[in-house]
Structures are given as C-alpha cells and as structure tokens.
C-alpha cells in the first residue's frame, strides 16, 4: 500500500493518476526548442531520469518549461534493480528528489542490472530467472516503492542470452514480480518481439502469460537486424530505427486485448528530426483512437 504524499504542486494529484491514454515521445535535447516553439499535440513526454541528475543549466531549464505544458514520464536507466548487490541508496535519493521536483505521472525502471559494485556498465543486462533472483528483484522493487512512496512500472527486457540455471519463464517471472510487489508493467512491445525472436518464443503466448491488465505504459521502438553464429536472426534493441511492421502488428493485438494505454515512441540513437517522431506518434495515436481512446 502506498500513501499519497501531501500535495506539493497543483499537478500532484494529476500526476498520481498515471499517464493519459495517449501517445508520447521521448524528449531529446536537440528537440527542446522545437517542442517549445511548436507546442505539438503530444500526450506526454518521457525523459531518462539520469540525464537530469545534474545541478542546473539548460536540461533543467527546458524540462521545467516543458513540464508546465505536458504530462511527464520519468524513465530510469541506472537503478540496476536486478543487481546481485544492494541498491544504491544515494541514487534512490536522487530519483526521489527528481520526482519531487518534476512530479512525473509515471516512474519506470527495467528488469535488468547495469551496475556491479561501483562499476556502472551503461547497458541493461540479462538476469537468470530463478527463485533467488525473484526474491532479490521483489525486495529491490519494494525498497524503491517504499522510498519513492509510489508504485513504479517495471519494463520487460530485450535479451540475447539465456541462463542454464533459469527455472522460470520470463513472462511468468514478470507476472510473479508484479503480483508480489504491486508494481505495474511497462510493456515494451519491441522488447517482446526482439526477445521472442531471439529465444524462439511465440509472442502471443508470451503476451498471454503477462498480467496485461497491469500495463501502465507501452513502449514502441525500432530494432537492428543481426545474426548469431548459426546464421539465425538476432535482433538488437537499439532504439535507432523506425518501428517495425511486426511490432506495429503486435501493438494492435495488445490494444485489442486491453484498450488504449499511454504509448511512447522511443528513439535514442540516430535521432531523426522531431517531425519524423511526430509522424510515428500520430500513427500510434490513430490506433489508440481505434481502440476506443479519447473522443
């Protein structure tokens, strides 16, 4: 159970209601001025929390202005929830400070690890799905939600490898984490597709096993094609390409199952002009409207 903190800003209550069921775009620094100049019809913006853990300067200046105009999703990439070691409480405090400052409508992190001891690897690394990992991940999410005094969303990973000692299917693992901790699901549809191709799973069966009623946000992104030593397709979640047709198709399937949900167009590499992202956002928004979204 989470008790709501005292309202600090007028947007606090709206922020706790979650993201609106509309399409958002990842906010890139190169697009700050264009966004403020053109005020696009976008449902929300999402930022990587760690980029804004700086004292001052243009990042805070522009995010402050944009936050006054749009709902915000705060997406962490550095908490290392799957780490074998304890969570970095200093980092958790930085997240808390950022959440207090910007009152985001959602905070999300990954089912992955990225730090070992003091070393930060700047990548989302895979976990063995077994009972000890399950207990550890749940304990870390409990710690995060208690510290932040709000539920978080957990993102399903894109992975390339499996562990021999894994005893639980990934989707079942995620379902159990959500059941035990009360966190929500950030369903990255691109990650579903990438992982299912890489691990020869059926995406429909994977979705069937997830608690889709707990989805608080969807991510859509592009992947890169590679191949492994057997010449089989190996998809890389690089956030550097337009959204693939297979991912659009899976997205439509998800919307048919659960109706309209806040959906992010995610692009972190080879970032194109803002209007290219806007066009993908409009494509997704049309699907949301079809699924019974805003009138």
């Amino acid at each position: 159970m989470f008790t709501s903190p005292e309202p600090a800003l007028s947007c606090t209550q709206a922020a706790h209601a979650g993201l609106p069921p509309r399409v958002g775009v990842g906010l890139k620094t190169g697009h700050f001025r264009e966004v403020l100049g053109s005020l696009p019809d976008i449902g929300f913006f999402e930022v990587h929390a760690e980029n804004y853990m700086v004292a001052g300067g243009p990042f805070h200046h522009f995010l402050g202005l944009i936050r006054e105009l749009y709902p915000l999703s705060l997406h962490g990439v550095g908490l290392s929830i799957g780490a074998e070691g304890p969570l970095d409480v200093q980092h958790l405090q930085r997240l808390k400070d950022l959440i207090e400052r910007y009152q985001p409508h959602s905070f999300s992190e990954h089912l992955a690890w990225s730090s070992h001891g003091p070393v930060f690897l700047n990548d989302l690394l895979p976990l063995a799905y077994d009972a000890p990992t399950l207990n550890r991940v749940c304990a870390h999410i409990d710690q995060v939600q208690n510290a932040l005094k709000r539920p978080m969303l957990l993102e399903n990973p894109a992975t390339y490898l499996a562990f021999q000692r894994s005893t639980i299917d990934e989707a079942d693992f995620i379902a159990e984490v959500i059941r035990r901790t009360g966190c929500g699901l950030l369903l990255d549809v691109n990650n579903v597709y990438v992982s299912c191709i890489n691990h020869q799973r059926d995406p429909m069966a994977y979705l069937d096993a997830l608690p889709l009623h707990d989805v608080g946000e969807i991510h859509l992104a592009g992947f890169a094609e590679d191949s492994d030593n057997l010449g089989d397709r190996l998809l890389i979640d690089d956030h550097g390409a337009p959204i693939d047709q297979a991912v659009w198709s899976l997205y439509r399937n998800v919307l048919e199952r659960i109706g309209p949900v806040a959906t992010l167009i995610e692009r972190d590499n080879q970032v194109p002009a803002f209007n290219v992202l806007l066009a993908e956002a409009q494509q997704a928004e049309a699907l949301l409207v079809d699924a019974g979204g805003r009138s």
Partner: protein
C-alpha cells in the same frame, strides 16, 4: 566469482572468454550472443566519451579516438550511473597515453572540453545587475571590503599550449594554421544564461579570478595578482553575467 562479477569482467575486457552457464534456445554459441552485450557496453561508453570530447576526436581522427577511448573504458569504467560526469580522468589518461604523445596539447584540449561539460550542467545562479555592481564600485568607503561571488559554472584552466585557440579553430574549419603553438593560454569557461562560453585571458586576470574564487576581496585579489587590466577583466565578468553576489561588510 558471482555471475554478475564474471559478466562485468568479460564485458569490459574483450580478451576474456564469454561467461559460463549461458545458453541460447537455438543452440547457437552463447559467445556469439554475449558479444551483443559486450558491443553495447563498449560502444555506449565510447560514444559517451565521443559526445563529450568532439575536438579531441577531430584532432586525432575517429579511428584513433575510438581505440584510445576503448583503452580508457577498460581501465576506468564509469563509477556512477550519471553518465554526464563520465570521463573525469580522461584528460590525465591522455597525458600518459603514449600513442597520443605526438599531439602534446591533446590532454589540455580534453581538459577544456571537460570544463565545458561541467559548466553546462553547473548549478544556476542569478547575476547581479550591472548598475548594482557599478554602484558598489563607486562607493569609496565600501570598496576596500567589497568582494564578489562568481557563477558556479565559472572554471579556469592554465595551459602551456594555446588551448583556447586550438579549441576555437575546431569550432570552424578545424585548421591550426596561424596558431603559435609556442605560447600558452589561460582559459576562462563559464555559462552565460544557457550558453557555455570560452575566453582566453591574461595570466594576471586568471590569478585575479582565482583569488576572487578563494574569497579574497576585490582590491586584495587585484593586488595579489601579476599585472593585468582590472577594468577590462571586470568588464568581461559583468558583461557575461558571471558576478552573482556582492559581499560588502559595510552593507550586508
């Protein structure tokens, strides 16, 4: 060794074998899949340095830069998830990196680029209005005790190389033609509103600003510096919004 310790070592050191205990559904060699994570780690860290050190990359070329950054990444991986601060030791590393010794000013250019990043993200502070500063300077009774606090983004670099001229040349057509490499420069870096600015200042002005940063009152800071143009230096600090507080014991 724990799984994640073994993973971490093999991600950073490409000479190490793929960790044990991994598999893939199609029976492919796990090493061919582990290499995706290894490439992600290596390239994301090298790209982070590349983004922070564009002039260093121009000076040595992309291929050399990436090879040099790869050695740095292995020796000094990030110690924090805040990637904006990654590369703190890059300048010192470059100064000891033998293959780069033919570009002796490379390390100082890296230091200047690092200061620009620090200035960009430094804390905000409102400048004192020029009229207010002028009034304080025109009050002879208070002048002897008058002190300045400077913007948190303000940073200095003393170089035996013309580091500002080299950096500035690479904001345009990237040629060192016409730059006298035999003269050092003193760099002043600060953020003026949203923009980071870089200036070459006299040795005396650089010492004066350091004295101000150390908390010396204006007149003492000037007296304790080698000869320099005080009016011009104050004019620079005022025009670029670098003075954020007046300390005056007479009128606190």
């Amino acid at each position: 060794m724990s799984t994640q310790a073994e993973f971490t070592a093999a991600l950073l050191n490409v000479q190490l074998p793929c960790p044990e205990g991994l598999c893939s559904a199609n029976g492919a060699d796990p090493a061919s899949r582990f290499s995706v994570n290894r490439n992600n780690v290596q390239s994301s860290l090298i790209n982070a340095l590349r983004d922070s050190y564009p002039v260093v990359a121009q000076l040595v070329g992309e291929e050399f830069f990436r090879a040099m950054a790869a050695v740095f990444v292995q020796r000094q991986p990030p110690q924090s998830p805040l990637m904006s601060g990654y590369g703190e030791g890059f300048s010192d590393f470059i100064s000891m990196f033998e293959p780069a010794s033919s570009v002796p000013y490379l390390s100082d250019v890296a230091r200047l680029e690092q200061l620009r990043t620090l200035a960009y993200h430094a804390a905000d502070a409102s400048p004192i209005r020029p009229e207010q500063i002028a009034a304080a300077l025109n009050d002879p009774q208070a002048l002897s005790e008058l002190g300045f606090e400077l913007h948190p983004s303000l940073l200095l670099l003393d170089s035996t190389w013309p580091v500002v001229a080299i950096w500035a040349a690479h904001q345009r057509e990237a040629t060192l033609e016409g730059i006298d490499l035999n003269h050092g420069q003193h760099a002043l870096v600060l953020r003026n509103d949203l923009d980071v600015e870089v200036f070459a200042i006299d040795h005396g002005a650089s010492v004066f600003i350091r004295n101000l940063l150390a908390g010396q009152p204006l007149l003492a800071a000037a007296e304790n510096s080698p000869a320099f143009d005080l009016g011009q230096t104050l004019g620079l600090l005022i025009a670029h919004n670098a003075i954020t507080h007046l300390n005056n014991k007479e009128s606190p």
